[in-house]
Symmetry: C2
Subunit: 220 residues, 2 copies
DNA sequence: AAGTGGTCTAGACCACGTC
DNA sequence: ACGTGGTCTAGACCACTTC
C-alpha cells in the first residue's frame, strides 16, 4: 500500500478500497489490513472516517519529533565535557512572564547554567510548581540540574514548546558571556500532568553554536 | 495503566506484569492489552523487549511534532492576508551549501518571498531535484509557490530539519526589509523519497515576528 | 531452554456519519 | 438506513533474547 501511495497509483484525494476488499486482494485477514492502515494514518499519509472511507491526504504533518533532552547527555554524546552551575534559587517570585499559567501556586525559582567544555552552552531559567511537585522544595539543585532531576522523576502528559530567535540581553551577556548584538536561540517549555501545571522553563543558547536537528524516515 | 504510570505506582525502571497477567487483571483479552501497551510505547512511556518484558522509561522523547506547513494556510489561519512573489528562478547552479546531497542531479533553483499583510514574512531559497521531480521543470512558480505545489503533489518519506538563529545578511536585508543586526529564524529542510533526494529549502523569517509553537497532550 | 513480546486469523458486534 | 471504520475476543504460532 505504501508503494502505491509513493508511486501515486493512489494519488492525493483518492479513496482506498475498504478493509474487506484489501484483505481479499492481499490475501490476509482484516485485522492485518487494519494494522497496516493504522500505521499509514500514524505516518500522516491517509485519513480515515467511518462510512466515508480511507482517503489519501497531502503530506505535510508528522515531519519531525522534538525531544526534551537531558542537557548533560546532549553535550556528552557530542563528545564534549559537561559542566553545571547553579546561579540562583529561591521560593516564589519571578520576573518570568508566566501568563498566569500557575495561578496562585507556590513556586520554586531556579536559574542555572550548563557548560560545554567549560563554556556557557545553555542558560536555564525555571519555575517549578511546588504544589504538584513537593519534592522539588527539598532538592538543592547544587549538584543535579533541575532538567535532569525532573526528567528522571516527574511524569508529564502535556507539553507546549515555543522556539524563537532573540537578541542577547543583560543576563545573556553576563551569564552566556556574549556581546550586545549577539544572537540567542530561545526554547520555552511548559509542561503539565493532566490539568496540573508542573514547570515552565526558558532556555537560552548562544545562537552561533546551537541548532536543533531532527530526522525522520518512514521509508518503505 | 496510564494512571499507574502517572501516580508512580509503576515508577521509572519498573517492569510491568506481562500481557497475559494484565489481561486477567483487567478482564480483557490479550489483544486489547497489547493495543493499550502499544499506545504507551508510542507515547514514549514504556519500552518493550521480548523476554525482557515491558519497562517504564524516563519521559523525555516524543515531546512535540513539527509539521511542514503550507505557508499560505499558516498566514491565513492566523487571520492575515497572504501574498506571494517569485524573486528568481533558473535551472542549475546555486550558492546554497547542499553538502553534496544531490550529487550530480540537475536542479531547479527558486527564490521567493511569502508576505503577511503585504510585509515580508518568509524568504524561501530552494533547490528541487528535477531527476526525481521532472514536473518541477515545467512549473513556473509565478502564481503558485514551490512550497504549496510540492506539498500537494510530491510524496516524501524522509525529512531532515535544522532550526537555528542567525543575524540578517545581505539578502535578508534586501528581501525581508530588515536592518543589519536584526535577528533571523532559520529553518532548513531536506526531504527525500527512499534514497532519492527531492528538495532542499532554506527558510528565513524575521526573528521579531516569528516563532514555532507546538503542543502535545497525551492525557489520560 | 523457556519466557516474553510479535504477528496473524476468523469471527462478532458496535458506532459513527454520510447518503 | 446502511456502509464504513472501530473495538473486542479466543486462539494459534512465531521469533527474539535473556537467563
Amino acid at each position: 500500500m505504501l508503494q502505491r501511495l509513493n508511486d501515486r497509483t493512489w494519488p492525493v484525494g483518492t479513496n482506498l478500497p475498504h478493509e474487506v476488499q484489501l484483505a481479499e486482494e492481499f490475501q490476509v485477514s482484516r485485522g492485518t489490513v487494519r494494522r497496516a492502515l493504522e500505521s499509514l494514518v500514524d505516518a500522516g499519509l491517509v485519513e480515515r472516517r467511518r462510512k466515508a472511507g480511507t482517503r489519501v491526504v497531502e503530506r505535510r504533518a508528522y515531519a519531525s519529533t522534538l525531544t526534551i533532552p537531558i542537557v548533560r547527555d546532549e553535550i556528552e554524546q557530542a563528545g564534549y565535557r559537561y559542566g553545571y552551575k547553579l546561579l540562583f534559587s529561591q521560593m516564589g517570585g519571578s520576573d518570568l512572564d508566566t501568563q498566569g499559567l500557575f495561578g496562585e501556586a507556590p513556586l520554586r525559582w531556579v536559574k542555572c547554567l550548563h557548560l560545554r567544555d567549560g563554556r556557557p552552552y545553555q542558560y536555564e531559567d525555571r519555575l517549578i510548581n511546588v504544589d504538584t511537585i513537593p519534592e522539588a522544595a527539598e532538592q538543592s539543585f547544587v549538584e543535579l540540574s533541575p532538567n535532569e532531576w525532573l526528567v528522571a522523576h516527574v511524569p508529564y502528559s502535556a507539553v507546549r514548546t515555543v522556539l524563537r530567535a532573540d537578541l542577547a540581553g543583560g543576563e545573556d551577556i553576563r551569564y552566556l558571556q556574549l556581546r550586545a548584538g549577539d544572537v540567542i536561540f530561545v526554547v520555552e517549555r511548559y509542561t503539565a500532568l493532566g490539568k496540573q501545571p508542573l514547570t515552565f522553563v526558558r532556555l537560552r543558547h548562544p545562537g552561533h553554536t546551537f541548532q536543533i536537528v531532527t530526522e525522520v524516515d518512514t521509508s518503505c
